[in-house]
């Protein structure tokens, strides 16, 4: 995997900051690619708007990144919006037939990294057409978590910020 930058996607929400990744030689972040692509696809315009409101309002402003609002984790990566099983019982809640998945890494309840996603047209990530996006999200996640474990990325939960080891906001991995 090429070098990529971890950069702020939204820090205007009241409870949670959202980061994204910008691949080397790409002009658009992974999350912008996702929203741009599906907003202009008439079949998914409505779902794109709902998903964005879910991310920025429900998670960002109203509740923070509570586990209840995320799907189950696979290799630390989760898909939004929430659909899977919750910890207590086997209750399935939100949007069981929601067509889109946006992959995310929850770092804390106040900091989330968003990746790319796609249309969930299979029973699992592996059998869906968004398999490649899922693999990429897993690779980004692995590198980001390694960097956090090695202190190459510092997590400032109080200020909802990620910085490099020198406190700089530009994080290149």
């Amino acid at each position: 995997m090429n070098t990529f930058e971890v950069k702020i996607w939204d820090d205007e929400a009241a409870l949670c900051s959202f980061y994204t990744v910008l691949q080397e030689e790409s002009i658009e972040t992974e999350t912008d690619k996702f929203f741009n692509k599906y907003e202009t696809d008439i079949q998914y315009t409505e779902a794109t708007k709902e998903l964005l409101s879910f991310v920025l309002y429900s998670i960002g402003d109203d509740h923070g990144a509570l586990d209840e609002l995320f799907n189950r984790y696979e290799n630390d990566v989760t898909g939004l919006p929430v659909q899977g099983k919750i910890q207590l019982g086997e209750l399935v809640y939100h949007y069981p037939n929601f067509p889109l998945r946006l992959y995310a890494l929850k770092i804390t309840e106040n900091i989330v990294v968003l990746f790319n996603g796609g249309v969930k047209d299979g029973a699992t990530n592996q059998t869906s057409s968004l398999h490649l996006q899922w693999i990429e999200a897993c690779q980004f996640t692995k590198r980001i978590l390694e960097a956090i474990n090695n202190d190459a990325i510092l997590v400032d939960n109080k200020n909802r910020k990620l910085t490099d080891c020198n406190g700089e906001e530009e994080i290149i991995l």
Binding site: W9, E12, L56, H94
Partner: protein, 136 residues
């Protein structure tokens, strides 16, 4: 800062879509919170509602959205409010400066089962105040 694309999409998102999504997430968080508080599993919840676990699973998995009836049943079994509808009344008073002033009073009476009044209420309104509000 906010992504320009996110900003553009939000600007083009109808208010009702935003309200629906926020309310739905609020309900998910609230129901989860109550399940945790009560320590309910799906099986126990099903027993309380007189249904099979698979029925509950289907019911809550929302092949259709939550209905008002399903929310009422959940609220009754979980014993705490899930949805809140403000009760608004208009009142007026005389002010020597501005004359007659009309204003809205939000009474926010929440109907909860008798068994939990005063037992699990979080202190925002005492049981006495609830009774007073009911009486009014």
């Amino acid at each position: 800062m906010r992504s320009k694309i996110a900003k553009r999409i939000l600007d083009n998102t109808p208010e009702d879509v935003k309200i629906f999504v926020r309310l739905y997430a609020d309900i998910i968080v609230r129901v989860n919170q109550l399940l945790k508080e009560k320590g309910f599993t799906q099986k126990q919840l099903a027993e309380k509602l007189g249904k099979t676990p698979s029925e509950i699973h289907k019911w809550l998995s929302n092949e259709h959205n939550f209905t008002l009836k399903s929310l009422a049943k959940l609220q009754a079994e979980l014993g705490s409010p899930i949805l809140y509808v403000p009760v608004v009344k208009t009142a007026s008073a005389f002010n020597s400066h501005y004359g007659k002033t009309t204003y809205k009073v939000y009474k926010n009476v929440v109907k909860v089962p008798e068994k939990i009044k005063g037992e699990e209420w979080n202190g925002q309104h005492s049981p006495n105040k609830i009774k007073q509000a009911d009486a009014a």
